[in-house]
Point group: D2
Chain length 339, copies 4
């Protein structure tokens, strides 16, 4: 079933919904993951090339797909597009039961200026997506200012609660330079957020799905794999969809918890060792075993590396069991992070 | 735009249409190729698993996609489903301009019993598809009789005017044995029709798009590539879609024209040499050069092989130009084939 | 380590060995599967294009690889090449421990006339390969006669003990017509042998690994996947190689045992029901349950299909456990097949 | 032909050569590209897992392949490994004619500490490779110090003459953190060097070719594509190898020439406009047309973007022909860059 919902008539904001029919043949699919597609166009237009063909590809992979056509700059400037995003998410969540949408598995994919909006959604939205796919996205202040002056720069918004991201771009993009993607990745890394990134050797800005129908050569052939790759990445993050249900995820939303509000076993040993008070108490046995047994037996250069490991990575080396680590984790999650 | 057309209320025949929106951004795509999806189900049901997910995958590849839900056996027996197919094609052709369908590029894909219907379409329909994709299709008398007694056996219907086919199946299918596919290929070969075929090592009947969502293992992983492969095959047959238009086809609908109503340069030398009358006259220079120059210089075993080559393949070896071959072709196409 | 062994100086028979070095880093790889590469050339030459590049691709996939340069027709005619093959296998087997070759996992790959030799190896050799990969192979009497008069036709040699085969060819091959592959597959099917096959839409004879370096276009791009696909097929047949050892095979060497010397649970119900004596005794409970419970409840067309299923496929439907089926299998394997 | 050359007996430095045999069947392949494989192991060992399997994969793709086993830290410390690299390159170059090596197409691939060596080769070696593939490489001072104290940090060595790079790593590498790859990419970008990069979602340090034989799960499946991808990337940089020779490259070694010793049409407009003297003279017509015609008609935000474009990218917009641009390029290349 396909339908177009008008979210805001005056600002011409529309949500096109590509919804799967239900079937008694696959009752295991009454609920499906969803993707919200945000086309680019410099906030001056919403590109059709980054809309329906993208939605259909995710639909073919089993997603309910949605395309958001948001407020353009000359109609209603920022933060109107972010408000449109929030309204789109509210609409999807409100219809989740009716449409069969899995509320925990709604991702967003945005291109260029739409990637700017998707990155803002991933960092500061009230309704954050479970994951964000950012295609040749506008992410630095320098580029966002060239797009529309005064936009927030997503690189400055990344924090420990940012959604996991999949980024792609071409090295030779001369509209949104590769620096946008590199700077954003660095912030994701600093904040311990999970991500994947692909910078392809060559190709123009705005290549969309990479299809020959929409692009004049030259475009690096690998650029055409981002959709398949990002769909696979989502299945690793969310657990792969199988006939019987979801498999275990392959990685978590967070890679390292040092910047989180509360401590956890995902924090690095170094970070935990620098904490005062309660954390010292909880991890007493750990600190003893590391400082006595480990540090004296291991070269100092190796020790430096190991101190950067999370508790989950480090403790098995010195004989703690998964159960013990889980117990530490539970206790630590009640302790505020004193950065 | 998506819509469901009722072709026949009494027999519950419906055509679901997945139509691309037009856009000023890609005026080169005002006209698109189309695929008609025919689900299987032994003529006792129409399987949803072989309907929407298949249509969406072709849509993602740039096709207008259609799903035909045809008359079931207990509602209206054969040849009702074939009549439904004709009606579906008439509907698509009638709306071709409105919807932007390329009339010369409408393919059909059918599964199991739907593959039986698709194969009948490819052989005896009034509105033949430009190409047929046959998935674990019912093609022999033995299997079609087990499905519904009295159905025509597609293997007996293949002739020189059959549409080119792409066939796939698994070796261990115990509902529609692999013999169906093998016997049909043999007939395609005998009649000089172009085809491609993939028989995967293992997997159950009815695996559809091969996705893990719809299938319990075990299924050969290569079985999941048939959609991408068949879409690529269509682009070779039709010419690849590029930004500017269609490239040259990589192969023709016909591989060898010996069974056609009229002669051509696609006939084998052996076949042409056995013709009487007009053909002898047209090809006098060819026969001379082959029989004098070639036959005496080439080992007889090689000569036997070369006699099986088409005129197009053989003549460049003995110095005829493309222009001369085209001229022979034009003259031969006016001469009836005396089999 | 790479070395060339002279198997027969007078006939210029050589075995080039591409052997992996052993390493303390992967003790789980002290024993590896092996591939014996048999290049084509009409028994008039051994093509280098079907030798080293093929061996290196299998080596890259973790195989010890061997290239056999066998007796050419003008030096020593058939059956000399088959004797060379036997000698090559004896050499590999004799050095298996020294080189780290897994004796149970030696496959053969042959091209064109080399495919003829590989198919003879798979059917009538004393040292049969565990699997055979046949590329645009000479398999019918008509084509083998055009190659060298008097060669045996592999299609006539297939029986219930033939090795499992992976076949590939292009539809437009005008040197070894596609009929060779189709006729061989039909015989494999009739004899219940496992196989996989890929007939690609277009491309010339002798395309080897399909690489652009060795081929002038046009060649169907899928033709370049046969190596990866056949390597995957071997891993399905043999069990996938993992860090810890071999996983379970995905399918057996035999698909249906009706033509074997002894009965088994891989025989079809129909075949077993037609046996006299001992088999009747063993399967008494089965026959009763099928003939009373099943036949009366199932439409006769479905029953016809089910009678074609193997015992392993059929018995779970009527409540027999895996253990019971295994017990039947063990008993049946002591009973001669009365065809 | 395979052989092991001892480069330095005392330091146990060896070069293993995997050389293609020549053949009259492919005279177009008398000269082939080459890859020098540098295994990792923290300068404490040379890992076999990053040696022969990698060399064989490149060999399968048509390369002459070489593995360098270099001086280990405890035998002879840095810069001994770099000297070993130079000696390996000298050896290959000295035998180039004999072995059929294309001197302009020798790439290097290094892993972990071997990636450190490869990156030093790409930046400061006397015999720079034509391209460098860096796998989970040690590139920052922090990590190289943990490896062996006092090593140079490749991130500090990047300049405008650095070889183009292909980088890959996994997000969850806890031995060589992803920061190494990110920081190096940033330097490549700042210096205008061409590159490609892939950061896969999850997987351990040291996954080599990604094969299941060498790795215990979990490893992101995309991590196994880096070899195929990097080989394709080399063909884009060098021109694809075809039957007749090399096609045109898809991108150059340099993306933007602002940091080069001499000016060129690969410099950005902004950079050229800031130059004094000779450059002003050469580009007088350009500056006029941009400053009069272009700047007044284009929004200032767009103008800022366009000033960052290279002359080659910008001039076609205002009507200069390829010939005119080439003429500017030739003149500019004689002018020193006044940074």
């Amino acid at each position: 079933m396909q339908q177009v919902l008008t979210l805001n008539e005056a600002q011409n904001v529309r949500l096109t919904c590509y919804l799967y029919d239900r079937s008694p043949e696959y009752t295991n699919l009454d609920v499906r993951p969803a993707i919200l597609v945000i086309p680019g166009g410099g906030y001056h237009m919403c590109s059709d090339r980054e809309a329906e063909p993208i939605a259909l590809a995710f639909a073919a992979a089993g997603f309910h797909a949605f395309v958001l056509r948001y407020s353009l700059h000359h109609v209603k400037p920022w933060p109107a597009p972010l408000a449109d995003y929030e309204q789109a998410m509210e609409t999807i969540l409100a219809h989740a039961e009716e449409w069969g949408v899995d509320k925990e598995r709604i991702a967003v994919v945005g291109f260029s200026a739409g990637g700017h909006l998707a990155a803002c959604a991933a960092t500061i939205a009230a309704h954050k997506p479970a994951a964000a796919i950012l295609g040749y996205a506008v992410l630095t202040a320098q580029t966002s200012d060239q797009c529309v002056e005064g936009l927030p720069a997503p690189v400055d918004l990344v924090d420990a609660d940012t959604a996991p991201c999949f980024l792609f771009a071409t090295r030779t993009d001369n509209v949104v330079p590769i620096r946008n993607t590199l700077a954003f990745e660095q912030k994701l890394d600093e904040n311990g957020i999970s991500f994947e990134s692909h910078i392809y050797s060559y190709g123009p800005h705005g290549f969309g799905n990479g299809g020959a129908i929409y692009n004049q050569p030259p475009l690096c052939p690998r650029a055409g794999t981002w959709m398949e790759d990002s769909i696979c990445w989502l299945s690793e993050l969310w657990g792969a969809r199988t006939f019987e249900g979801y498999a275990s995820p392959k990685f978590g939303r967070v890679y390292r918890g040092d910047k989180h509000a509360y401590l956890s076993a995902d924090c690095s040993y170094r970070h935990l060792a620098a904490q005062q008070g309660k954390a010292q108490e909880i991890l007493k046995a750990v600190f003893e075993r590391v400082e006595t047994g480990m540090r004296s037996n291991v070269p100092s250069s190796t020790m430096k590396m190991l101190e950067g490991w999370t508790l989950r990575e480090l403790l098995p080396l010195i004989g703690f069991t998964k159960e013990e680590i889980d117990a530490f984790d539970e206790q630590l999650r009640a302790v505020k992070n004193a950065l």
